[in-house]
Symmetry: C2
Subunit: 233 residues, 2 copies
């Protein structure tokens, strides 16, 4: 099931490519940390932590630009073909999604800069729960990427359905809250945005899972039904 | 100022690359049409047109997948370097943003499936105005892409500020409306999403303008201030 990527790299690729792959994993680790810090900041109302998330976003951006340059350099210099090229393409796309996940984490952290009533804290707790679900999805897809495990990537792909359901439920819950206490709308709208950000992160994890499957199976499975993906795997 | 791309292509690139560039322009034209149809559908409450936008989205998706494959094939077969490679990279990134703009257009069109009170029609008119601004941005950035005109791309980059201001103003206006008529919240929330979609399209046009500048100037100017971009150009 699992693609033996290490063997593959030592055979066909040089250290440069192994190196760039490690950079993607570091970037993934940083983005995961940013998301978890954002969720912690929201759960604890910790504005200091929220500010740290904001400050660290430039590191995510810098990593994307560096890895992207490195990918272009590798293509120009090493002229990879077949699965080597697919790996570079998968990396280039993955980092674009990781960078945007970093942006969403920053947006979520902003919620911790506001203060909320006790009633609203209940909504925050639900957002945190959804956040942990999404955080696990990110963790799992990075794991699938690290091991280039198409099966695991497909599990993540399917997990997005649950995130979408949570998103629907939470949005409805927040709207009900708004209807009962209209004066809260400007503040509570911030919560709607953060729930939306979490849903977007789920989508981006799903994108990354598609790149892993593309690399391993050599097939572009975007815009394809999950039944068809199951057949590919 | 303008990069002589036709000369460049006939010299170093073959028909394949000219062909893929034309495909991007066709895809851009289709996405522009999708956005304008979505805005028309919302303005006129035309649910038939809205359904057509939804039905046509698969065409945008298919174009992205085809062009993406063609880019990978060109890299593998022709092993482009320097500005040739930059063009392929710029194309691959541009179509990813175009595809997402198509998704946003589909989301905006959904508004036309609901019916709105006369009061709410006023909000719709404002959304349409913002939409036309964004549509012009898309048109201009596709034009900048077609001519690989870094100066024009930079103009689009700067235009996003105005879209962001409109976004803030409209969001505030819709929230005020919600506070005055809380029962309208579930319906009016759809308007908030479409305003958000327009703001996202503006961001994606800005992304495309960055790829044009990257191609022409050979510099990655993402996450860079506009003062610095002005110096690059």
């Amino acid at each position: 099931m699992e693609h033996n990527i290490n063997k593959h790299i030592s055979g066909k690729f040089n250290e440069e490519l192994e190196n760039v792959r490690n950079q993607v994993l570091s970037m993934g680790g940083l983005v995961e940390q940013q998301l978890n810090s954002a969720l912690d900041a929201v759960a604890k109302g910790d504005s200091e932590l929220a500010k740290k998330v904001k400050e660290n976003d430039y590191r995510v951006n810098a990593m994307e630009v560096n890895i992207d340059e490195e990918c272009t350099r590798i293509i120009a210099k090493r002229q990879p073909a077949a699965s080597d090229l697919r790996l570079v393409v998968a990396i280039a796309k993955t980092i674009a999604d990781l960078e945007r996940i970093g942006d969403e984490a920053e947006r979520i952290a902003k919620v911790a800069l506001d203060s909320f009533t006790k009633d609203q804290q209940g909504l925050l707790a639900n957002i945190e729960n959804m956040g942990r679900l999404v955080s696990k999805m990110l963790h799992d897809v990075l794991d699938a990427f690290a091991r280039m495990d198409a099966q695991k990537a497909f599990e993540v792909h399917k997990a997005d359905e649950r995130v979408d359901r949570e998103y629907e439920a939470l949005t409805r819950q927040i709207m009900t809250y708004m209807m009962e206490d209209p004066r809260s709308i400007p503040r509570v709208m911030e919560l709607i945005w953060s729930v939306r950000s979490l849903e977007r992160i789920g989508d981006r994890c799903q994108n990354i899972s598609e790149y892993v499957i593309y690399f391993v199976k050599g097939k572009d499975i975007r815009h394809v039904s999950q039944d068809m993906i199951a057949k590919t795997i």
